[in-house]
């Protein structure tokens, strides 16, 4: 009995870790996939300047973009979004482990509810169409696919967008 409960709690803990890791890995995964496939990305910055090119290097706080044969270093803190013409990152369906997933989701919210997490998880589950308002006044309507601590992955008309949370002011359902 005791052993069983321990193994279950260990399993839940493991799942939580993997879930947490997958949540944290969206942005680096997206960038490395885009770099590997040599896809042309469209990058919008906070000050509404735009860049288009392929990723050369990925740093922690900045990326090197090859734009018209020259290398441009762009800081992540100034990027608002990255757009890929077709999906780069395939996100696994979250409905695979329905029962256990609910338990895992309920576990952290038991202590202190994470409002943002709940909102985004619900939006992903129900395939809601969200409206994002950015700091620079732009408005985006798209479906959310996944998110991590700093970014939100959206899909819209076959394109895939990666929005940095620091560029978002509000999200409406």
């Amino acid at each position: 009995m005791f052993l069983q409960s321990r193994t279950i709690s260990a399993m839940i803990f493991l799942m939580e870790v993997t879930k947490e890791e997958s949540r944290q890995a969206i942005e680096p995964q997206f960038l490395s996939q885009a770099q590997a496939s040599g896809i042309t990305l469209h990058i919008g910055q906070m000050n509404k300047t735009e860049h288009e090119g392929t990723i050369r290097d990925i740093g922690r706080y900045e990326i090197n973009l090859e734009e018209n044969g020259k290398i441009v270093t762009i800081l992540k803190q100034e990027m608002a979004y990255l757009t890929a013409p077709h999906p780069v990152l395939i996100v696994p369906e979250p409905q695979q482990t329905s029962g256990a997933a609910d338990e895992v989701l309920a576990a952290p919210s038991a202590g202190k509810p994470n409002i943002q997490q709940e909102f985004l998880d619900k939006a992903i589950k129900e395939n809601q169409l969200l409206t994002l308002y950015l700091i620079n006044g732009q408005r985006v309507r798209a479906q959310i696919e996944a998110y991590d601590n700093f970014t939100i992955l959206l899909k819209e008309e076959g394109k895939q967008h990666l929005y940095y949370k620091h560029s978002i002011t509000t999200i409406n359902r």
């Binding site: 680096p28 910055q45 906070m46 000050n47 300047t49 860049h51 290097d57 990925i58 740093g59 922690r60 706080y61 900045e62 990326i63 090197n64 734009e67 044969g69 020259k70 290398i71 441009v72 270093t73 762009i74 800081l75 100034e78």
Partner: protein, 130 residues
């Protein structure tokens, strides 16, 4: 994942003495050579020295002129071989060839041109200031 890619790029531009364009948050572009940098500021060596804070930097790229000069420099041997006999054969093609290869013939010439332009601009500004 590299933790300080920007530092590396700044270092290569500084040691390579390449002219760079730095775009700030308010879309202002500053171009010149990088004289020095640390983790908070960059000192530029343009026609007047200036210090800029790294928290205002959005984008760093080599100056377009320098970049146009560079690709022909690496692939110069091949065009030169074909270019040598051509001008003698057809004179009418000469101007057309010269236009795209303008930065290629000599880096010093175009550099001196930019220096001339810079000097002229500076003189005009100086006159206006007086």
């Amino acid at each position: 994942m590299e933790t300080n890619l920007l530092d590396r790029m700044l270092d290569t531009y500084q040691t390579g003495r390449t002219s760079v364009t730095i775009t700030l948050r308010n879309k202002i572009r500053i171009s010149g050579r990088i004289k020095a940098f640390d983790s908070y500021v960059i000192i530029m060596d343009g026609h007047k020295q200036e210090i800029l804070f790294r928290h205002a930097v959005t984008c760093l790229s080599p100056l377009p002129q320098e970049e146009h000069m560079r690709p022909p420099a690496t692939s110069r041997p091949a065009p030169v071989k074909t270019a040598l006999p051509r001008p003698a054969k057809i004179a009418s093609h000469k101007p057309r060839q010269q236009q795209p290869q303008a930065p290629a013939p000599s880096a010093t010439e175009s550099l001196s041109n930019t220096m001339k332009d810079g000097l002229l601009k500076w003189m005009q500004e100086h006159k206006a200031a007086k």
